[in-house]
């Protein structure tokens, strides 16, 4: 991978990252728009969870990973401590794989 490609990816990524912080301080946004922006972050994160739990590339990820994430979801809704949620998810997936479930 040539250096110029790495730098191009870095520059583009930084542009995505810095646009919001720069723009937000130039314009005062109405509270409704502020609320919408924080909702956008939640919607994106939930979509990341759904896609990274269920899909690998463009295909279904199999059962082991979604099962682990489902355990995490149930524990999170029941307000389990953060380490319990994360470790339980990884353990569920690891044990299922050990048992031969993809």
């Amino acid at each position: 991978m040539p250096l110029v490609a790495i730098l191009a990816l870095a520059a583009g990524t930084f542009a995505f990252r810095v646009a919001g912080p720069v723009a937000r301080h130039r314009v005062e946004l109405p509270p409704r728009v502020e609320q919408l922006l924080s909702d956008a972050a939640v919607v994106l994160l939930v979509a990341l969870v759904a896609t990274s739990a269920l899909m690998v590339g463009q295909q279904f990820a199999g059962l082991a990973r979604p099962a682990g994430v489902l355990v995490a979801g149930v524990l999170a809704v029941r307000r389990a401590p953060f380490p319990v949620i994360v470790v339980a998810a990884a353990a569920t997936t690891a044990v299922l794989r050990l048992l031969g479930v993809a």
């Binding site: 583009g12 990524t13 810095v18 502020e34 939640v42 682990g68 994360v86 998810a89 990884a90």
Partner: protein
């Protein structure tokens, strides 16, 4: 930076510190596997190391290296990485308040914005706690991630298959744990559910990264159905200036 560190003890509770430490452990293992995969695939050691420092986005790094190792062009690798990172644009707007007004902190903070640091920030409404959670997570992850990638690049053969430990489930689990408390209104829940369904449904047809952006269409639901929370005097996230 110094002003950020001075305000940390007030904003960072032990629970958040512990949670961030756990995310660091998971990211160390993933970072090491990134370094190992890149080098064992035939790339020079400095490629994954430099990518990690200047791009600092795990998903895009794996995607770019994956394209190159599969024989794709460098241009295709850059495009794949950029499409994946497009979500950082709306994230930047969502956490702009924690980055303060100084150019230096704004530029550094922007570079350190990741899924995890955003998720830790939105767990809190209080500006000090938002800021503390974001910055500690961001700086800790930057350090851990980059050291781990270096270690993986040089000790590649020693790194086992991280999927065997269920680490691929740990990443979504981290985000689940952080985001569930933010699903506090029926409006947000509905928007997130519609968005998640759209993202998963379009994944087989769209290049990686775009389905997550399609999820933003779920916000249309939120706009049309003003929930309880939006009618309260909203916790003003932009009052950082006052605390300075």
């Amino acid at each position: 930076m110094r002003s950020i560190w001075r305000t940390l003890p007030a904003g960072l509770d032990r629970r958040t510190a512990r949670d961030i430490a756990l995310v660091c452990v998971a990211d160390v293992l993933v970072g090491a596997s990134f370094g190992a995969i890149s080098v064992s695939g035939g790339l020079a050691w400095w490629v994954p190391v430099l990518l990690s420092v200047v791009v600092f986005a795990g998903g895009a790094q794996f995607a770019a290296v994956g394209v190159v190792l599969a024989g794709g062009s460098a241009f295709a690798a850059v495009v794949a990485g950029l499409v994946l990172n497009a979500r950082l644009l709306p994230f930047g707007f969502a956490v702009a308040d924690v980055l303060g007004t100084r150019w230096r902190t704004r530029l550094v903070g922007a570079h350190l914005t990741t899924d995890e640091s955003v998720a830790f920030a939105i767990r809190h409404d209080d500006p000090d706690r938002r800021r503390a959670a974001f910055w500690v997570c961001a700086v800790a992850l930057f350090g851990c991630w980059n050291l781990a990638v270096v270690a993986g690049a040089f000790a590649g053969r020693l790194v086992a298959d991280t999927d065997a430990f269920g680490l691929d489930a740990a990443f979504p689990a981290v985000l689940v744990a952080l985001v569930v408390p933010s699903l506090s209104t029926s409006r947000t829940r509905l928007a997130a559910a519609v968005g998640a369904v759209l993202a998963v449904a379009t994944t087989p047809f769209l290049p990686p990264g775009l389905p997550v952006l399609v999820a933003l269409l779920g916000l249309a639901v939120a706009v049309r159905r003003p929930g309880r929370r939006s009618q309260e005097p909203s916790p003003e996230p932009l009052d950082l200036e006052r605390s300075r």
